[in-house]
Point group: C4
């Protein structure tokens, strides 16, 4: 008991010392939890990251230093401006793809949370000519269409697929447009939401929908997709709160 108390104290102290000022501790904790949830649910591997817009300054966002998602704690969260400059990195290594987040927050005032992952069953759609489409409530928001972002031809100096500078971030944000999801060819996807719970639930739902669509295609007959009207009627953000309650319970420290 005593050692647990000490750990709690340490975490709390180090969080106090190193994390963004003026951000409620619960915001930092929830962002760390989101990383652990998406790792536990099989969406994030040892790469990928989640961010939230700063709760009191819409020109800032919060995301972790460079660390595997399953290991993120509140003390790892760094504050960035929308050009993706760290406010106070204190020498910590940062994700080279943070521009994904900053440029989307610039382009989308309705977005307050962004997930970038290598979602394992979404990647195959990104390298196929079969569009990922809504087939189930879990992925109803895909009814809006899920454009595929491709870095090919965007940078004459590098063949990298990474979104490693502002220009590529802007191009990705342009491909995303007003949609909730964009696939990234040979890479993964980016999923956005009005808040963290929506973005996390949509990231999980995108993977779940991809598996169901893949299995349906494997059955060998035409697949019945959602109509645009069905897709519009079927996303239920209220249900996402129940998902979060479950997912959080699975990653809560014992």
């Amino acid at each position: 008991m005593r050692s647990l108390f000490c750990i709690a104290l340490l975490v709390s102290c180090s969080a106090g010392a190193q994390t963004p000022a003026e951000v409620p501790a619960s915001v930092l904790e929830n962002l760390a939890t989101a990383h652990r949830i998406l790792a536990a649910e099989g969406v994030l591997d040892y790469l990928g990251h989640v961010s939230v817009r700063h709760p009191s300054n819409p020109n800032r966002y919060l995301m972790p230093r460079q660390v595997a998602p399953a290991l993120v704690t509140a003390a790892d969260i760094v504050e960035f401006d929308l050009d993706s400059h760290a406010i106070d990195a204190r020498g910590r290594a940062l994700f080279s793809e943070r521009y994904i987040h900053g440029e989307i927050y610039k382009a989308r005032r309705d977005v307050n949370a962004v997930v970038h992952s290598h979602s394992p069953t979404v990647v195959p759609f990104s390298i196929s000519q079969v569009p990922l489409r809504a087939v189930h409530q879990a992925g109803a928001f895909l009814g809006a269409g899920a454009p595929v972002f491709d870095t090919r031809g965007l940078d004459s100096r590098s063949a990298s697929l990474l979104v490693r500078n502002p220009a590529l971030g802007k191009a990705l944000a342009a491909t995303l447009g007003e949609k909730p999801v964009a696939l990234m060819r040979g890479h993964g996807d980016v999923v956005v939401g009005a808040d963290l719970v929506v973005a996390v639930a949509r990231a999980i739902g995108t993977e779940v929908n991809a598996r169901m669509q893949l299995n349906a295609i494997q059955l060998g007959t035409p697949v019945t997709y959602f109509t645009p009207e069905e897709a519009a009627a079927m996303e239920n953000p209220a249900a996402y709160a129940r998902g979060w309650e479950l997912w959080e319970s699975r990653v809560r420290p014992k």
Copy 2:
């Protein structure tokens, strides 16, 4: 030890205070366990629900308040009449699809337990033209046929696929007919049984059979399905009790 005792006491007290009167505690506990089993076995995600007919009043049924299946406890169980009005909800949020349960209990006097899930390998069959059919003992009851319920065209005011009112519940019950399973297009399935153990075992067996049928189709040759006689000969409810014993052991609090 003391804290465990307190938790047990609290659960017991709150169960006494909030759960349906005149229902043996074991009925409530088994219904909660069924939710945890189906979550652990991969049939239920953060949505879906299981109900049982009231053991002493056939015009009532029991199912949880709106909560993720893996988190259901006896204290979450609410009593409903067959029109799916809660007897005493005490302000708790209820599942919008409870009409699935009420209307099936009305239509099927032989049914005492109903499972509604988004069973992940069953959904692909619901959006394919390949019928889910019995290929293994686990899904022998599918030999009766598994009709696919589709909301399309049933409600001129909404494109939702949810069974969110009595009329849609009645339509689903009509599609189910005398069968043990109906698929729900782009949504999941409903599985019924004469008691809770049968409904749970059939829900698991439906998912297991779906995986085997999918894999057999992927092998690329015609598949040997059960004949109607084989299907009729092969369901063994007695074996389901052994399944329950195993599944329950996996979700029993340590």
Copy 3:
């Protein structure tokens, strides 16, 4: 600690009182462990069973009473003659398919252990026209061929696929012939070995090989199977002991 000691004492006492006489405790323990291993490795579900020939009486065999494999303990083991009559069942329910074991022990003097399972990726081959064949060291013994046993037409009184009497057991043993594995259509498989470790390793290897063959077929080009010479050269029972050491470590009570 005290309660663990009491449980150990109880198990030990009940084992002494109810299990076959003149059988070393290690034989009973290993047979129980084999059930837990095959459940943990995904070969056995809540049905299926493993047997060994009696170590000092070749006209007897040992297998559990009717119980889910993951729950088998030494106290559950019952002794049978080769006609599959229990020597002393003490009222315990027995597996209706025990004839699989008795009839194979009659027909195959080289066999001292038998596994019957619903191995999930083997069942699809049993209902397909694609033969299960050796593609990897894990399933080298499949190079001998894996015949498919089918109950259809064998019993004019019943359409059951279960091997529930001596005649069906004999028919299955005849289909198996001198091979290590026979598939059972719409049902599962039977895997035999000169000892328990070989039978368990082959049961796991059959499932592993089936997954690899299925995936290779899904790639869409002709598959390179083992030649008979390669299959004969590649089974390595010595390696199975290392497999057992690992698998046992995973199911050992903590």
Copy 4:
């Protein structure tokens, strides 16, 4: 507590007594950890092995005695010369395929770590005519091509697929050439790196890439592979350290 202490003492003593001299304990620990990581991540089953070149003597390498990967400890590590003779085996059984490691270290002065596994989704590519190719950052190094080694015709005395003598080891090393990965037909693969972390991350990445490529092929349209330039730009060994940090945390003794 006392027994834990004794175990720790025993491990420490036996490590001191039996493991290669003049090798830092951290090298032995990391090599043992690599085995447990690859088992936990589903790359290694009960067979397969990982080696590292001796840190101070490039004409020696280190790998475990014959034991299941998930069970390897520092005390199991044996030192070999590049002809794969154990320096001091002390009677412990050795892997018959250690020539894979010795012959690659001879041929590739740039390689300091070698993984041999039966990676489950890589094997299907080894028996298919579909080449394993880079489709994702996880497998960018596959852009160099992944040749398939086949034992067929290499040994007139045996049909074995095992690399069980120096001549077969040399032939495998020749097939590998300057590449990071070679598939082994009906068997598995060999993955190499400049250090242990790179080899482990590439072994995991090969499996992950194989699953994504398989799923993309199952979607039924042409697949977009990495161009050689993209593959060259996308391997990021710096990120592998973050992977190791995560994987190690999952197998760390509690």
